[in-house]
Symmetry: C3
Subunit: 396 residues, 3 copies
Amino acid sequence: MSHIKELIRNIEDLAANLFGKDFLLTWDKSEPELKQVLTVAEALETLYRANRSARCFESGLAISNFRDQSTRTRFSFASAANLLGLTVQDLDEAKSQIAHGETVRETANMISFLTEVIGIRDDMYLGAGHTYMLEVAEALDDGFQQGVLAQRPAIVNLQCDVDHPTQSMADLLWLQEYFGGLENLKGKKIAMTWAYSPSYGKPLSVPQGIIGLMTRFGMDVVLAHPEKYDLIPDVVEVAKKNAADSGGRFTHVHSMDEAFQDADIVYPKSWAPYEVMGERTELLKAGDRAGLAELEQQALARNAEHKDWTCTEDRMKQTRDGKALYMHCLPADISGVSCQEGEVEASVFERYRIDTYKEASKKPFIIAAMILTSRMQNPAALLKGLLKRDTIRKME
Amino acid sequence: MSHIKELIRNIEDLAANLFGKDFLLTWDKSEPELKQVLTVAEALETLYRANRSARCFESGLAISNFRDQSTRTRFSFASAANLLGLTVQDLDEAKSQIAHGETVRETANMISFLTEVIGIRDDMYLGAGHTYMLEVAEALDDGFQQGVLAQRPAIVNLQCDVDHPTQSMADLLWLQEYFGGLENLKGKKIAMTWAYSPSYGKPLSVPQGIIGLMTRFGMDVVLAHPEKYDLIPDVVEVAKKNAADSGGRFTHVHSMDEAFQDADIVYPKSWAPYEVMGERTELLKAGDRAGLAELEQQALARNAEHKDWTCTEDRMKQTRDGKALYMHCLPADISGVSCQEGEVEASVFERYRIDTYKEASKKPFIIAAMILTSRMQNPAALLKGLLKRDTIRKME
Amino acid sequence: MSHIKELIRNIEDLAANLFGKDFLLTWDKSEPELKQVLTVAEALETLYRANRSARCFESGLAISNFRDQSTRTRFSFASAANLLGLTVQDLDEAKSQIAHGETVRETANMISFLTEVIGIRDDMYLGAGHTYMLEVAEALDDGFQQGVLAQRPAIVNLQCDVDHPTQSMADLLWLQEYFGGLENLKGKKIAMTWAYSPSYGKPLSVPQGIIGLMTRFGMDVVLAHPEKYDLIPDVVEVAKKNAADSGGRFTHVHSMDEAFQDADIVYPKSWAPYEVMGERTELLKAGDRAGLAELEQQALARNAEHKDWTCTEDRMKQTRDGKALYMHCLPADISGVSCQEGEVEASVFERYRIDTYKEASKKPFIIAAMILTSRMQNPAALLKGLLKRDTIRKME
């Protein structure tokens, strides 16, 4: 437990203030704020592994609003809420009256009377998810300021069209653990690269989240994809600026081989081109099924031209000492396992499988840290209080 | 917190006994019993706002059985259960084997072995919802008396065909706060009036609940609707009797203008005519789709004859000083916002929007008070115990 | 509470070790281990009825994975988890990405980072449910050994193709209570007999669970069914061996009358023949709808030849003093109530209805005991700790 005391001291040294704020985009947060979340997450994991309770709420709701399917993020959110003493209530739009003419503004207040946090996943449409979260945020501000809500619940972005901060921050926590400290990431080369998948329409938020975050810590970030598989241009600009500010590097190439060359970390993952996602959004809004089917055919055909964008053993040999860390947000499209040809060769994936699980295991603690830092004025004091209380999590 | 001590003294002065009883209809309860629920709700809200835990169960289930869609009541029930330390378990009839031949009697017992409260919403069919709750109640009595159940769970009516007590009691709590005390409601004129909506088949339980409850406290209750938009006759009789008993007034008119004249409070809200709901119930039971479609057409056509029944700025000017309090159970059909022509003009709704949110914010506390008063022998002593324990709800 | 102290002493005397183990099949457990579960269940029920909290987890998830419909087992699992302080999270495969190529191995880890127990119901296909649970178990072992999981969650079989241990153990707890002790079951004749039902494809796990468990305690177990309504042969072998080992008896007959003759307990219940279930599994795998429809017709026609296999008043008269205890896992097919002709005559069922409810009421405590004994190294010490802590469950 002496490790936690050190973590608490580190938190005290940070000039961070996330109290009362939503967590929507990592690039809205300062470096000390990101470090605060990482350190609180580490402290919570340490407490958990020492069988100490991190329960800091006696009651309170954590609302999950999943506008798209999810297993791991759903469970991570549920685990995080439970760890802190909050109870998850799903806002299931199919079961609710939302389709019956309720506005976002009204619903946001109606579900929040005794609510501490709202986790939202809305990554289906370009231009929609982040906008929706801002709308909910505004409604909550209004309700709180006007005395409707006794507290202003925090929003945690569980994946939108722009960023996937719980994923990228969990990835960062994993990298910090793997390389033995955040400072060790300076100068490390990470290849965020497109990879072939037989499916279509995968969101852009993971690669965007990675280039937007990893450029904050002096890393050498390479974004690689075939021509016309662009990300949202604004986010690429954010990555460029971050790299310049942090003393890191951001390179944008169109060759997987170039990206893998001497990389310390590779993150090969499929996504749909920005333009295709834009077109798709328009067709979905218009309810144009024929158009959607045609777009899918075109997109799949275009994907198929890039089947060589895959993480092979040969490519892995070109990385630093042939031993780059392979990362993935899971589930991966594994050639010969989950599909015929996919993002990664089976033997590569299998060698790093446990690593990807460990990567995923950081997410509940990252989400819990996001909740805690937004709800508690003084996270360091809170953690000290937990240490002092010293409640056993599981009786023995 | 001195306010809570006063509230506790008030509870001690009431000759009320809700222990072990269901909350199905407000008119089954005595005036002190209704006041007990209101006062406990106020105490719970005060505790909540003072960041004190109201957790009085270490474990126990709160079952929600929604036989119709719901957002706000679902979340209110979940919030109330969570506030007291109970865990919500949905009885989702689609996922269960209920359709496979289980009787109500059997299911009621099967879900209740460790259950403290069952919240039921069943407002789709006239003659069904209240009857269903009585059936469940009888099954629970049987199971408890015969030693199957260690405790007899309480039933809370979350809306039936007859009454909507969590709504009307939350409305009353809001009125009490707005007008500075229950005694200040004496003589106040409240207009419970039908209003035009482009939808059809809205339940009668809200207007019935309002006229059944507000007549208990000496108010001047006016029920207004077009010819043939009657409520259940028995409930209108209840309202008449209540008014006579409480020294209030109950008037039944067919003019929205007459109802609004000098009103202190207006509650314009659409509902389906009693007779139409009766016909609809028969057609639904018979599975007569063609008949249902025809009935809907007829009912919508009939509704459309009364588009002038809407809450306009002009009508608001006729109320007391032009400043009557506008109420709604939400979501409202707002002209030009959620529909072309609806229950209320947009500018009126917007002016009272925050008030309607505050009105809704009372529901979790009312439901929690209904649970607490039915589960604990001595609510005043319980609240004293909470005060003495003085547990912080959210650590800081 | 002195009764609990006795129960704790009994637990201390048992040479049982269920810590860290899954509960999949009763015949994988030793007699002392089964007794440990029964005794812990009794202690938990005693605590509950004395309004004492059995909460031994401050946080932690209990995952329910129902691959088939369920009411009573779902609520029993939820009640058990809640009693101990765990929060249920449903793994709803429709809402998750499991169908999107995730392997069982991956999902098992992804949902388990902060999880204590996974309850699985998978009884639809012969050869599938138990196998699936073993696969999940292996994945959890792997994740725990390789440091992905901070703890290895326990799996509780909530019904598979082979056994239904939460049902059979709850039944045994009920028999122990009804007959005043486990030792009083020695020599008692129990008739596990097929009965006619108008439905088809009922799982074999209940009769298999009963003959596999009741033969452990010296009972005289008779399995009766029409020709060609066999159970899985391996399980019948288990029952034979158990009977030989325990000094009991196992008889296999094709006459309901023979089974009922002088029986102390009768358990008349429908099931699909082993061979039909095997064929059905193949057809389901092949997606052969026509074949399935034909099989159903054949099976129903074959069932209809055995409508005389029903629990009548006349048959009950042939049991010990005409007063055998009637058992059923519920819901029963009651002639003239839930179907025209079914497993049991209405007057017989009604006489034993409350007994079947009491039988069912044991399940939450059995599941809680299975969780507790698999999670806590020393259940007797844990119970002593609960007694010493002496926390009230529901404040008064």
